[in-house]
Symmetry: C2
Subunit: 351 residues, 2 copies
């Protein structure tokens, strides 16, 4: 069975109803944003489409602000759970903007019938994740919906971070010649969740764990080594491919990836082959992509590898001049292929 | 049919699973907080249990931060919709803390199959509500769950406001002799939602509209007149009764209400009688309770009444010395009754 048959939606088109692919983080999400959300909601900040909003307070101090809903299924998976993911995800959206995450607010939508013991495990996991990352959960809310109107537990976390002065990370900043680095192996989170969700049915057994992790410390280390760093992103839904297609469009540049250099675990590669998935599109929850000036690439790569969360870091490609803003990949057998934004829904409810 | 039979849960006890009453804003919500959330999550800020967290930035500036999930059913009701409610609710949580609301982040959990036209109406309504209140929606996120795993649309909004210096509003501040003011009629939101949800079935027809409205301007006006104002709260889920029982407990004082002074529309009174509901527990979405020193009560009441959102304002009671922290109400016929925190679920999914 191929990924197309099970998880993909038809080619993006004009939908009149929400489909699972609208939550993919890929092209359908983009379409929904462009058709529904941006026309109604976009102001100067939202329109920048970064993972976090940077806001200037009276007096000049800057804060970063972000929100994400977490609906991962199942609630517990190898290497993590919904609670951990909800804290890491929001911390990482702040961190890749160069901010120091400080405060989190969490809202819970509980389905009637959810065992309180499950809820307790999730919130304890959230607290542990906050403590590990040095952030404080300062506000919360709980709503309950009738049995059959939810799915156990959805959590939305919002976060505030402090933005150092003189920092300017942006999806518009990449320049031809810049190098593309990634802090470790690709696709671990997506395949770990999939393995527990579909593993038995698919004969997919693996010791793989989600890479979910807080990245603020790693991001700070990279910015110390390279204050001129152009842009960072944690490639979650839609994977590395979707993040880099957004970068190409935002900076009006091309991206050339080298497949031979992509750090991918054997288990992930095997599962992807079995399922017809492309690891470039599979979600990561503890990896950062960084685009850096060429002369600083080695120093940043060394800094990544020196950090416990970046041991498998690699340089995976470079920024090129390309008015069409295409992402291409030199394949293992020497050809070149176009890397497009994820077009359907590869793995629903992965985060 | 009485409210007990339809909407109430058994007397609070030891639940092992989530019940609808856990979302009531009343005693079961409190139990869930005390059993599950606070033991795991509470730090110095969350433990204050205000409607918003007040955070101090390096340099001394203060911001307020809050989050709320909105799961109201149906999505559209007389006088409002989920989108408007989601913006007003978060603005008001900031405003009652004395903050000037500035920035909103919104996360959406969409159910597969939701018509995009419905989503469009909701987000346009959110934008209109932001514009009216002078706040900017700066960040967002969208997730999609399978049909039957959600209920059309849930929205979580989080907000940041600026806190003026020297302000100290707190649920711990009330002192015997203080007066309790409310900015207008009670129960309009809850009964308006109920009328459209259950109206046909119950033979309940009314022209009543939800009072959903942004309160920042009104709250600012009150603080200008009375910088020593003790505490404000928008009495949403759980109504005036739950807000005042929290105040009594927080300040270790009593509250004495006068039923004859409660501003309640005839339609709300009639619907409550029909349904066996108590308007003191019915949700409001555009009203503020303010507790003020006695010598400033008249000035604050005049300021409320001079504001378009406070025309029906009234003084409804006073703070008393009471080590048991009880809220009591002098009834219309002269007796006195205890006003307890809502014990079950009066109206599920009202916000």
């Amino acid at each position: 069975m191929t990924a197309d048959a099970r998880w993909s939606c038809p080619i993006p088109g004009t939908y009149e109803h929400v489909v699972l692919g609208h939550g993919s983080g890929g092209r359908l999400t983009q379409q929904l944003l462009e058709r529904v959300f941006l026309p109604a909601l976009a102001g100067p900040t939202l329109a920048r489409l970064e993972d976090q909003a940077t806001l200037t307070l009276p007096g000049g101090a800057r804060i970063a602000f972000t929100t994400d809903a977490f609906v991962v299924s199942p609630l517990f998976f190898p290497g993590g759970d919904l609670g951990k993911l909800a804290i890491h995800g929001t911390i990482n959206d702040l961190a890749v903007g160069g901010a120091t995450p400080r405060w989190i607010a969490a809202s819970f939508v509980l389905e009637e019938g959810l065992p309180l013991a499950i809820l307790e495990r999730i919130v304890r996991s959230m607290r542990a994740a906050c403590d590990e990352a040095g952030v404080e959960l300062v506000a919360g809310d709980t709503k309950v919906v009738e049995k059959g109107k939810g799915d156990g537990l959805f959590v939305t976390t919002s976060g505030i971070g402090l933005v150092p002065p003189h920092l300017d990370l942006s999806v518009r900043n990449a320049k031809p010649g810049d190098r593309v680095l990634v802090s470790g192996t690709l696709g671990d989170h997506g395949i770990a969740v999939l393995s527990v969700r579909e593993g038995l049915e698919l004969g997919l057994e693996t010791s793989l764990e989600s890479d979910t992790a807080p990245l603020a410390d790693l991001c700070r280390a990279l910015l110390e080594v390279c204050p001129r760093l152009r842009w960072m992103r944690d490639p979650t839904r839609g994977g590395v491919a979707s993040a880099l297609t957004e970068l190409a469009a935002g900076s009006r540049v091309g991206v050339r990836l080298d497949e031979a250099r992509l750090p991918i675990r054997d288990e992930v590669r095997g599962a992807c082959e079995l399922l017809g998935l492309d690891p470039l599109y599979v979600a990561n929850e503890g990896k950062v992509i960084a685009v850096v000036p060429p002369e600083e690439a080695d120093a940043v790569l060394s800094a990544m590898r020196a950090h416990p969360r970046g041991r498998d870091a690699a340089e995976i490609g470079e920024i090129t001049e390309d008015a069409r803003a295409l992402v291409v990949m030199r394949s293992l057998i020497g050809g070149e292929r176009l890397v497009e934004m994820l077009s359907g829904e590869q793995l629903p409810r992965i985060c």
